[in-house]
């Protein structure tokens, strides 16, 4: 199967010398969903920002559709791969939800009509059609998360990166988010601490600790018990709680 993304021996250290990622290698197939988990400060978010080309000075290679991201122009890169921020308030700046979602098509040169159609289509998928005239600053957190996702989904990137998409969401908002993420046909990398969310959108897991991948494989694997006992305990805990209810 054709690869959407291939990362080889990726290492990155911050300016103060702290190593964020060490020799990270993995690949992502077309339309595959990958959950990236690990403790705080493990390097998960840094990995996403590196994929977006936001940090320079890394070693190793990041190839998107066989081309190194260093050789791609900003426009080519952002049309192929795009990121939904952890905090939607950092992502939104327009006066209305409609302008917010239309920002990318407008800037990528879509015509007025095409832009309007794309906005309506994406808003319908994310269930934010009734919010189009509202100001993003006045929405609830769950609505903001969905608008932030819509503003990126409208680009229809081949690879969608999501940074903690389910954090601070209630059950209903999480359900809508799961439906939207599963409805997106492209490849996805989802950084999350939420096991329940990870299990509902992905079958493959990468577990990172101290910038090193210690597990890369399916959730249902005997290896998971050996390599990520803490994570497995958390999954078992969750299942026990659900069965108690």
């Amino acid at each position: 199967m054709q690869l959407a993304l291939e990362i080889k021996n990726l290492s990155y250290a911050f300016e103060d010398g702290t190593e964020a990622l060490r020799d990270v290698s993995f690949s992502l197939k077309k339309s595959e969903t990958l959950a990236v988990m690990g403790p705080n400060g493990a390097g998960k978010s840094t990995l996403l920002w590196l994929l977006m080309g936001a940090f320079k000075g890394f070693s190793g290679s990041i190839n998107v559709r066989g081309s190194n991201i260093c050789g791609l122009s900003g426009k080519e890169l952002y049309k192929t791969i795009n990121l939904v921020f952890q905090n939607p308030e950092n992502q939104m700046f327009c006066d209305t939800v409609e302008d917010e979602i239309a920002f990318a098509p407008d800037n990528f040169g879509a015509g007025a009509e095409a832009s309007r159609e794309a906005v309506e289509e994406t808003a319908a998928i994310l269930g934010v059609s009734d919010l189009l005239r509202k100001e993003p600053q006045h929405l609830s957190f769950g609505q903001k998360k969905r608008v932030a996702l819509a503003s990126v989904l409208v680009i229809k990137p081949e690879i969608l990166l999501l940074d903690e998409p389910s954090s601070n969401l209630d059950f209903s908002s999480k359900e809508k988010l799961v439906a939207a993420v599963n409805g997106f046909g492209g490849s996805k990398i989802i950084v999350t601490q939420d096991i329940q969310f990870a299990l509902s959108v992905s079958e493959r897991l990468i577990y990172i600790t101290n910038g090193i991948i210690i597990y890369d494989g399916p959730f249902k694997s005997p290896d998971l018990k050996l390599k990520c006992p803490d994570l497995l305990r958390e999954i078992i805990d969750l299942r026990e709680k659900i069965s108690e209810i």
């Binding site: 952002y78 795009n82 990121l83 920002f103 990318a104 800037n107 990528f108």
Partner: protein, 267 residues
């Protein structure tokens, strides 16, 4: 102690119903008229200031809030106020004349001789009225207008797209700054911080520093978000829509302009 653009846009006032482009026009026109009124025409400035107060009444901006927030204007009011009181003490009328008893009055203030001329007092009052009219007008029209329709009105006045984008971004930045201030204030209250001594200055400096750093960080993240979505400096921004002017807007404009013309040319 500040008014925000669109803060009172939801009040059920007449000013709120006027077309944003018409309001923007008066935001430029009234200060311009104030600027060209000659110094000796105190009566004209008085009428324009009165007009701005009538507009305030029609905007339904609560007078109590308005007065409270105008406190920073007090020093500007005090100077002419003292002169006016002084003029009254010496049996003079408000608008002065060169035959007034205050004419060429000299005060010895700790060895510093200050001469008050009738024309100076007239100038001071005129300046006060002009400032009041200008500040009132800008506050009333901006506070009673939705921000997004104000940026739409800028488009009608053929402001460049780039300017509108900067205007919108600056507004968002200020909003982020205000939010950070509110968060920080609540956080300090929760931690029982009370400014007690000189060392509080250090804490205050740290708070202010972090407020600016946090809002700058947010602005940077916004900028990255724009970049990820294809924005490059100089890109055209989406044209904001502004509804066409109605008959009531024309009537309002006509009455206001006639009133201003009367103040300028016949008083």
């Amino acid at each position: 102690m500040h008014f925000k653009i669109d803060e009172f846009h939801s009040e059920p006032g007449f000013i709120q119903k006027i077309n944003p482009a018409v309001k923007l026009g008066f935001i430029f026109l009234i200060p311009a008229v104030c600027a060209i009124i000659p110094a000796e025409k105190v009566g004209a400035s008085f009428l324009i200031a009165l007009l701005s107060l009538i507009l305030l009444k029609f905007s339904k901006i609560p007078l109590r809030i308005f007065l409270k927030r105008m406190i920073p204007m007090t020093p500007f009011l005090l100077y002419p106020f003292i002169l006016i009181i002084h003029a009254f003490i010496y049996g003079h009328n408000l608008f002065m004349s060169e035959t007034a008893s205050i004419y060429n009055k000299t005060i010895d203030l700790f060895g510093c001789r200050i001469e008050f001329m009738a024309s100076e007092i007239s100038l001071a009052i005129n300046l006060l009225l002009k400032s009041l009219a200008t500040v009132n007008t800008v506050i009333v029209f901006t506070a009673a207008t939705r921000f997004k329709s104000l940026s739409g009105a800028l488009k009608i006045f053929m402001f460049p797209d780039y300017f509108i984008m900067v205007f919108s971004s600056t507004w968002r930045y200020l909003e982020a700054l205000v939010n950070e201030i509110l968060i920080m204030r609540t956080a300090t209250e929760f931690k029982f911080f009370r400014p007690a001594n000189i060392f509080s200055v250090k804490t205050f400096s740290m708070i202010f520093g972090s407020i600016f750093l946090r809002s700058l960080r947010k602005a940077e993240m916004n900028n990255i978000s724009m970049k990820f979505r294809g924005y490059k400096t100089g890109n055209a921004v989406r044209a904001k829509s502004c509804a066409p002017a109605a008959g009531s807007d024309a009537v309002f404009s006509l009455i206001t302009i006639i009133f201003m013309a009367f103040a300028c040319f016949f008083i």
